[in-house]
């Protein structure tokens, strides 16, 4: 192998504020014509390190050398001049521009001529085997098309060093394979490629060498051929950990939620959820797989009452037969409504005449658990708002994808975030901050949330701790259905496993868990069944214990005529 060093990082340190040390004295060499993986957990500073090479951040100390000469990279423009290009995890594309316009953006020193640009891009695309429509607007593109535009953008500027941040996070197994083919072709062409990732199998598959970072420190750089997944994991986490998810067999599952023919339109009138039908059972984890933007978000939001859906049915089954009603979930008003529907019996199985009882007596009876449901509750969720759903006593918890933009309020402290779902309780016009305070203290202790105190603004916490606060709150509501969207995105391994364990615990308690995930390995290890969405349609529901990644990958891109429901 050709061993010319093209890029050298020497003793790079970067701090954010006074507390966060993102990179501590990191040194690294990159050779010409190699694929180097930078491996590390979320939050270990691998993206920060590469952002300094790409000119997004400026190092506090340390040197960057290119071809043996020290360079100063003050902006992305400087980086391009040194033939460095970075493809960020969150694509940097202008939605309303076409692919060609995005590629031409910011290119200096040539006459502006989109036709010329088009021809040059086409030449490059041919060379490396891309397939792209250059006039298509970004907002009409799929994730993998967007990624292609990103790569073309960097190549167009003549980059010799390409940095890709988590390039496979949102691709199907098949798309990953073709991306790797392109990357190999570029390596053979003499380009240096740096891949930031936390996925071990990909490191083993594609890279020549691998650098491991942990908590901002450089741990080691090794040849891929001389290491193993196990060794890398230990370097990454710093301790021996058990990477198995303890999956139990679902027992006495009962139907909790039945979704039939659900369709949700987005503001442009396009069906983002298209005729979806499935059933979710208590005591099981139902995984939902799909390319990003296949309708996962809209589906969960429709169930949670956030979206108005076009048509379809959502039926909630509450296995309450022969169980007492309580004021934990039901309001007095709702109890009286149910009483009018003749839903209750007393301990001996006789009907209760509520008309003869005073309010105080009814309350006493409920509190002493002497009012029993005659049958399971069956509730139609059509056109119910989140508030109405809660007032009906339906225990539906939802951990949304956008934690700080939806699940929590970043600028509020932990206590105030605890009462987001429950602040309305009680008749007083004033807030009761005592119960949320207790809950906050409990969650901080039980889930080991790393925070100075319960009055710290949530946005100041790290990703893992934010998620613990959110999941903690949703679980504290003792849900019957727990929906989670990408609950471990951006979390380090330990926090991820905390979340997996919490979900498994809930499953064993008989909760129906719905888990939208992106990492197929995790989906297959955690779920009992996996529902695959493709273009808003259900393309299949498979048994997580017997399926393969390839099978799911194929389902993710193909849409079957009729939604299959087992």
């Amino acid at each position: 192998m050709n061993k010319t060093v093209i890029l050298q990082l020497k003793n790079i340190t970067k701090k954010f504020g006074t507390k966060v040390i993102a990179n501590n004295n990191v040194s690294l060499d990159v050779y010409k014509g190699e694929i180097l993986s930078i491996l590390g957990e979320n939050g270990c500073g691998k993206t920060t390190l590469m952002n300094m090479v790409a000119g997004i951040y400026y190092p506090d100390s340390g040197k960057i050398l290119i071809n043996g000469e020290e360079v100063i990279i003050r902006s992305p423009r400087d980086a391009f001049e040194h033939k460095i290009g970075m493809i960020h995890q969150h694509f940097k594309l202008i939605d309303i521009f076409s692919a060609a316009q995005n590629v031409a953006l910011g290119v200096e020193g040539e006459k502006f001529n989109l036709k010329e640009v088009n021809n040059r891009i086409k030449e490059m695309a041919k060379k490396y085997g891309f397939n792209i429509n250059l006039d298509k607007k970004i907002y009409e593109m799929s994730v993998s098309e967007k990624q292609t535009v990103e790569i073309l953008k960097v190549l167009y500027r003549g980059a010799d060093i390409l940095i890709l941040d988590e390039p496979t996070a949102v691709l199907t197994p098949q798309e990953i394979r073709s991306l790797f083919k392109v990357l190999s072709a570029m390596r053979d062409d003499g380009k240096s490629i740096i891949i930031i990732t936390h996925k071990l199998n990909e490191v083993m598959e594609i890279s020549d060498r691998v650098t491991v970072l942990r908590k901002g420190d450089h741990i080691a750089t090794v040849n891929t051929s001389e290491t193993s997944e196990k060794e890398l994991t230990e370097m990454m986490v710093g301790e021996k950990i058990d990477l198995n998810i303890n999956r139990t067999e679902p027992k006495n599952s009962k139907l909790r939620l039945s979704v039939s023919n659900l369709t949700v339109k987005n503001p442009d009138g396009y069906n983002v959820v298209d005729n979806v039908s499935f059933e979710a059972f208590g005591g099981e984890i139902l995984g939902i797989a799909g390319i990003a933007g296949s309708g996962q978000k809209e589906l969960l939001e429709a169930i949670a009452g956030l979206n108005n859906y076009e048509n379809g049915k959502l039926i909630y089954y509450h296995p309450k037969k022969n169980k007492p009603v309580s004021f934990f979930h039901k309001t007095y008003k709702r109890v009286m409504e149910l009483a009018n529907e003749n839903a209750f019996i007393d301990e001996k199985g006789n009907d209760i005449d509520f008309t003869k009882l005073t309010k105080k007596e009814i309350k006493e009876l409920v509190n002493s658990e002497k009012i029993i449901f005659k049958e399971d509750e069956v509730i139609d969720l059509k056109d119910k708002t989140p508030r109405e759903i809660r007032e009906l006593g339906i225990r539906l918890s939802f951990v949304p994808e956008d934690r700080l933009g939806m699940g929590l309020v970043g600028n509020m402290d932990i206590v105030d975030n605890m009462m987001l779902r429950s602040y309305r309780k009680g008749k007083s016009v004033f807030l009761d901050r005592k119960r949320p305070q207790d809950l906050a203290d409990r969650i901080i202790e039980e889930l080991k949330v790393n925070t100075p105190d319960s009055h710290t603004a949530v946005r100041k916490l790290s990703g893992g701790n934010v998620q613990k606060v959110l999941v903690g709150r949703e679980i504290a509501a003792a849900p019957a259905i727990l929906m989670t969207a990408y609950p471990v995105r951006g979390l380090d391994i330990n926090s991820s496993y905390t979340i997996y364990n919490l979900l498994n615990e809930q499953k064993q308690k008989g909760v129906s868990v719905i888990f939208v995930g992106e990492d197929l390995d995790v989906l297959m290890a955690l779920s009992d069944r996996i529902l695959v969405l493709s273009g808003g349609k259900v393309s299949g529901i498979v048994d997580a214990r017997t399926t393969t990644k390839d099978e799911i990958g194929l389902l993710m891109v193909q849409s079957k005529e009729n939604g299959v429901t087992e």
Binding site: R74, P400, G405, N411, Y423
Partner: protein
């Protein structure tokens, strides 16, 4: 590669985000800004006059504190600005950019004056005054609710909407004056009816009223369920929807409150202070109130300080104008503008710090 060599220097100054800052430092930054802004204003005033800097500051303080009457006026005007700020505060907490304070005050004032004009002399003052109060508060509330409804239903841009409502309110006042004043002079003489009786002295009523409202607002925003909903809607509409808050209802409800308080300011202006109305009756408090609220970082108790400070400058500038013999009063707007600039820039130094390139010597040592 030639370019490479030229670039071989770290940027001269870099901007870095702070993660925490001591309160003393914040106070220091603001003090420097205020003093700097006033000094700059003093120099500018000197450019147009033969007076000096000492005269500038002397007049500034005489104008504000020079006599007992001036001091009471300072407090009264502070309280009016405080009241206006309290009207704007809940809207801003909700990130509803209400630029329509002027209009809301003006229609409140107009409603009160209308009661005084039509009922004065026919009905007893004890009947007129409560009617004025109701009319003012309702008028202000309606004026604020109109843009709120469209914001809630169609997400119509509220800052321009409320701004246009200011001009419509002004025209409405002109219209009423043309109808009421038969002479065509366009000036409405003070009306003797429906004047709110003095308590203690004639400045005290607004002072007490708006301090009480400030305290109530503080409690409302901090401890009530409504206040909590306002914060959630302001921070993130998505979160509000997620927890089932009816965003449209909160927007409309909060703006009704906001407009009602602005209407109350109009009521005090009409019934207790001016007893008449002109298109300039709101005294541009709708805008100065925005400044007071924003500079106080939306903290009701801090707004007491900022509105006092802003009133102090504008009162002081009246005297400066006399001393410096400026023939029009716009100099006060210039000074106020400069001080605003100085104080607004403080937010940068509180959130960021500058890191200068290390000296060459240090580099060599390494």
């Amino acid at each position: 590669m030639k370019k490479n060599k030229n670039n071989l220097k770290e940027p001269f100054v870099r901007i870095v985000k702070r993660d925490n800052i001591k309160i003393q430092k914040i106070i220091l930054i603001y003090s420097i800004a205020i003093v700097g802004g006033l000094l700059l204003s003093g120099f500018i005033s000197m450019m147009f006059s033969d007076k000096n800097l000492v005269d500038f500051f002397q007049s500034l303080f005489t104008g504000a504190f020079g006599s007992e009457r001036k001091f009471w006026l300072l407090l009264q005007d502070t309280s009016l600005l405080l009241g206006t700020s309290m009207a704007l505060l809940p809207a801003f907490k909700m990130k509803f950019w209400n630029l329509g304070g002027n209009g809301q005050i003006l229609v409140g004032c107009l409603a009160a004056i209308a009661c005084m004009f039509y009922l004065g002399g026919k009905v007893d003052d004890f009947v007129i005054i409560p009617l004025m109060l109701i009319a003012s508060v309702t008028a202000g509330a309606i004026w604020a609710a109109i843009p709120a409804i469209f914001k809630a239903k169609f997400n119509t841009n509220e800052s321009l909407f409320t701004l246009m409502m200011n001009y419509i309110a002004q025209s409405l006042v002109s219209l009423c004056i043309t109808i009421w004043v038969k002479s065509g002079s366009g000036v409405l003489a003070p009306i003797a009816y429906g004047n709110i009786p003095d308590i203690g002295n004639k400045y005290l009523l607004p002072i007490i009223l708006f301090v009480v409202i400030t305290v109530l607002m503080h409690v409302y925003l901090r401890s009530s369920k409504h206040g909590y909903e306002i914060s959630v809607v302001g921070e993130s509409i998505n979160t509000a929807k997620y927890v089932g808050i009816r965003v449209d209802k909160v927007i409309i409800r909060t703006m009704i409150l906001s407009g009602a308080i602005a209407g109350l300011v109009g009521f005090v202006l009409a019934g207790s202070i001016n007893h008449t109305i002109s298109t300039a009756s709101a005294n541009n408090m709708g805008f100065t109130g925005i400044m007071a609220t924003w500079l106080a970082t939306f903290n009701p108790l801090m707004i007491i300080l900022t509105s006092f400070f802003i009133t102090f400058i504008s009162k002081g500038m009246v005297e400066v104008r006399k001393t410096f013999m400026f023939t029009n009063d716009s100099i006060s707007n210039i000074v106020v503008g400069i001080v605003y600039f100085a104080v607004i820039i403080c937010s940068f130094f509180i959130n960021y710090k500058l890191v200068f390139r290390k000296k060459e010597k240090e580099e060599i040592k390494k």
